[in-house]
C-alpha cells in the first residue's frame, strides 16, 4: 500500500511529525523545510484540495479512518496537529470501525 515503513518503529509523535514534515516539504514546492508547527493553509502553501489529499495520505499510511467530526481543516494545519490526530485515532481503534 505504501512505501513508508512506519510499522518498523513504534508510533511516536516525533516520528510521525518528522515523516509529515518531509511529506509536506516534498509535496509543496518550498525551498526550506516545512516546520512541525507551520500552518500550511495559513501560509498559502496548499489549498483545501490538498487537505483531502492529506486525509487520504494519513489514512493509508497509518491505517486509520478519519471520518465525521474529525474532518476539520484545523486537524490538518500543521504536522504537529496531524501527528496528534494520528496518535489519537490509532489509540482509539473504534474510530476506524466503519
Amino acid at each position: 500500500m505504501t512505501d513508508q515503513t512506519v510499522e518498523a518503529s513504534p508510533l511516536t509523535a516525533e516520528a510521525i511529525e518528522s515523516a509529515l514534515t518531509a511529506y509536506l516539504t516534498e509535496k509543496t514546492r518550498t525551498t526550506t523545510e516545512i516546520k512541525p508547527d507551520e500552518d500550511v493553509f495559513a501560509s498559502g502553501l496548499v489549498t483545501s484540495m490538498f487537505a483531502m489529499q492529506l486525509v487520504v495520505h494519513l489514512e493509508s499510511t497509518y491505517d486509520i479512518a478519519i471520518i465525521g467530526p474529525e474532518l476539520k481543516l484545523d486537524n490538518f494545519r500543521t504536522a504537529r496537529v496531524m501527528a496528534a490526530l494520528v496518535l489519537r485515532l490509532s489509540a482509539d481503534g473504534t474510530a476506524a470501525d466503519a
Binding site: M1, E26, K27, T28, R29, L45, V46, T47, S48, M49, F50, A51, M52, Q53, L54, V55, V56, H57, E59, S60, I67, G68, P69, L71, K72, L73, D74, D97, A98
Partner: protein, 373 residues
C-alpha cells in the same frame, strides 16, 4: 474472483433489463419511473461502493465505475441519479458518526432515494457566496436557505443540504417530507439529463432533531465540498465514458449499414475519420477513469487530482464524441430523444456540472504551480 465477476454480470443484466430501450421515452417525457429508481436502489446499485456490512454491494471504484459507465451508455438521467445518490451515501460514510452511518446507509441501500443540495441562486463554484444557514437550537437544528438544480430532488426521500454553521459548515440530512421543505419544479425543460429530476429546493426554517446533522457539524466548507465532489466527479467521469461508448456504438453501426454513393458511408474517408476519433476517445476516457479509480483503490493521495483530471477529460471526450456521432448519423441522429441526440445534450451538461471545464482547469493549473509534479 469469479463470484465478483458473476455479480457484476448479473447487475449488468438487471440494469439492461430495467432500462432496455426506454431511455428515449423517459428523456422525452422528462421523467424517470420512480419504480426503476427504487429497484436499483434496493439492489444497492445506486451506491455500489457501500460495504456489504452496511448493506451495499461492496464494489471497488473501478467495478462501480464500469457499472456507472454501462448505465451512462443507456441513460444519462438514470446515471445522474446514481451519481447524486452515491455521493449522498459517500457523504454519510465520510461525515456521519457511527449511528448515522448505520441508519442512513441501510436506508440508502433499501430503495430510499437521496439527493445532494450544493448550488444556490448566488453560489455555484463560489463557495464563499453560500447563504444557506444551519443553526443549532437546543436539541434541534434549523435549516434556512435555497438550493437550485438539485439532481434527483424530484424523487428524493432525503436531501443532503450543505450550509453554513456559524463560521464553519455542515451537512444536514433533510427528509423531503419535513415541514418547511418546498420542492420547486424547473419552469422549463433542462438541456441535458432531462429526466434526472433537477428541481429547486426551498428550506423555510426546517426544524429537525440534531441527529440529522452529519457528524455533529462544525466542518470546513471547502473540505466538505471537495470530499463530496470527489465522489461526484469520478462518477460523472465514468458516466461520460459510457456516453462515449454509446456514441461509438451508434456511429459504427450506422456507418456500417447506411449506404451512399454505392457503399457503406464508413468507407468514405471523412466518415471513417470520425469513427477513428471515437475509438480513440473511448480509450482515452476509459484509461483516465481507470487511472483515477486505481488511485481510489490504493488510497493514493493522487486520487484528488486524478479524479479532477478524469472528470475533465471524460466530459470533454463525451462532448466531442457526441458531436461526431450526431454528424455521422446525420438526420437519423437529429431526432430529439435518439441516443446520440441525448448524448449531445447530456455531454454538454457534463462539461458544466460537478466542476465546469474551467474550474477543473484552474484546479489542474494550481496543482502544477503549487506541487512538485
Amino acid at each position: 474472483m469469479p463470484d465478483q465477476a458473476q455479480l457484476l454480470d448479473d447487475e449488468r443484466a438487471l440494469i439492461g433489463e430495467l432500462i432496455a430501450d426506454r431511455a428515449e421515452q423517459w428523456d422525452l417525457s422528462g421523467e424517470l419511473p420512480i419504480d426503476l429508481l427504487r429497484k436499483l436502489g434496493a439492489r444497492g446499485l445506486l451506491c455500489a461502493e457501500v460495504p456489504t456490512s452496511a448493506g451495499g454491494l461492496g464494489l471497488d471504484s473501478g467495478q462501480s465505475g464500469e457499472l456507472t459507465a454501462y448505465v451512462g451508455s443507456l441513460c444519462s438521467s438514470t446515471r445522474s441519479i446514481m451519481t447524486s445518490h452515491g455521493m449522498a451515501a459517500w457523504m454519510v460514510s465520510r461525515f456521519g458518526d457511527r449511528a448515522q452511518r448505520r441508519a442512513y446507509l441501510a436506508e440508502l441501500t433499501s430503495g430510499q432515494l437521496a439527493a445532494v443540495g450544493f448550488s444556490e441562486p448566488g453560489a455555484g463554484s463560489d463557495l464563499a457566496a453560500m447563504r444557506t444557514r444551519i443553526r443549532r437550537d437546543g436539541d434541534s437544528v434549523v435549516v434556512t436557505g435555497e438550493k437550485k438544480w438539485v439532481t434527483g430532488a424530484r424523487y428524493a426521500d432525503h436531501l443532503m443540504i450543505l450550509g453554513r454553521d456559524g463560521d464553519e459548515a455542515a451537512v444536514v440530512v433533510v427528509p423531503a417530507s419535513a415541514p418547511g421543505v418546498e420542492l420547486v419544479p424547473m419552469a422549463t425543460a433542462v438541456l441535458g439529463c432531462r429526466a434526472a429530476g433537477h428541481w429547486n429546493v426551498r428550506l423555510n426554517d426546517v426544524r429537525l432533531p440534531v441527529g440529522h446533522l452529519l457528524g455533529g457539524g462544525g466542518q470546513d466548507l471547502a473540505m466538505l465540498f471537495t470530499t463530496a465532489l470527489s465522489y461526484g466527479r469520478i462518477s460523472v467521469a465514468w458516466g461520460c465514458t459510457g456516453i462515449v461508448r454509446a456514441c461509438l456504438r451508434a456511429a459504427t453501426e450506422h456507418a456500417r449499414n447506411r449506404e451512399q454513393f454505392g457503399k457503406p458511408i464508413g468507407e468514405h474517408q471523412l466518415v471513417a475519420r470520425h469513427l477513428a476519433e471515437l475509438v480513440v476517445a473511448e480509450q482515452i476516457a476509459t484509461r483516465v477513469c481507470e487511472h483515477a479509480s486505481a488511485a481510489w483503490e490504493s488510497f493514493s493521495p493522487d486520487m484528488v487530482i486524478a479524479t479532477v483530471l478524469a472528470k475533465h477529460v471524460s466530459a470533454g471526450q463525451a462532448a466531442h464524441s457526441a458531436a461526431a456521432a450526431v454528424q455521422v448519423l446525420g438526420s437519423a441522429g437529429a431526432l430529439d430523444g435518439h441516443v446520440v441526440a441525448r448524448a449531445y445534450r447530456d455531454a454538454k451538461l457534463m462539461e458544466i456540472i460537478e466542476g465546469s471545464n474551467e474550474m477543473c482547469q484552474l484546479i489542474l493549473a494550481d496543482h502544477a504551480l503549487t506541487t512538485s509534479l
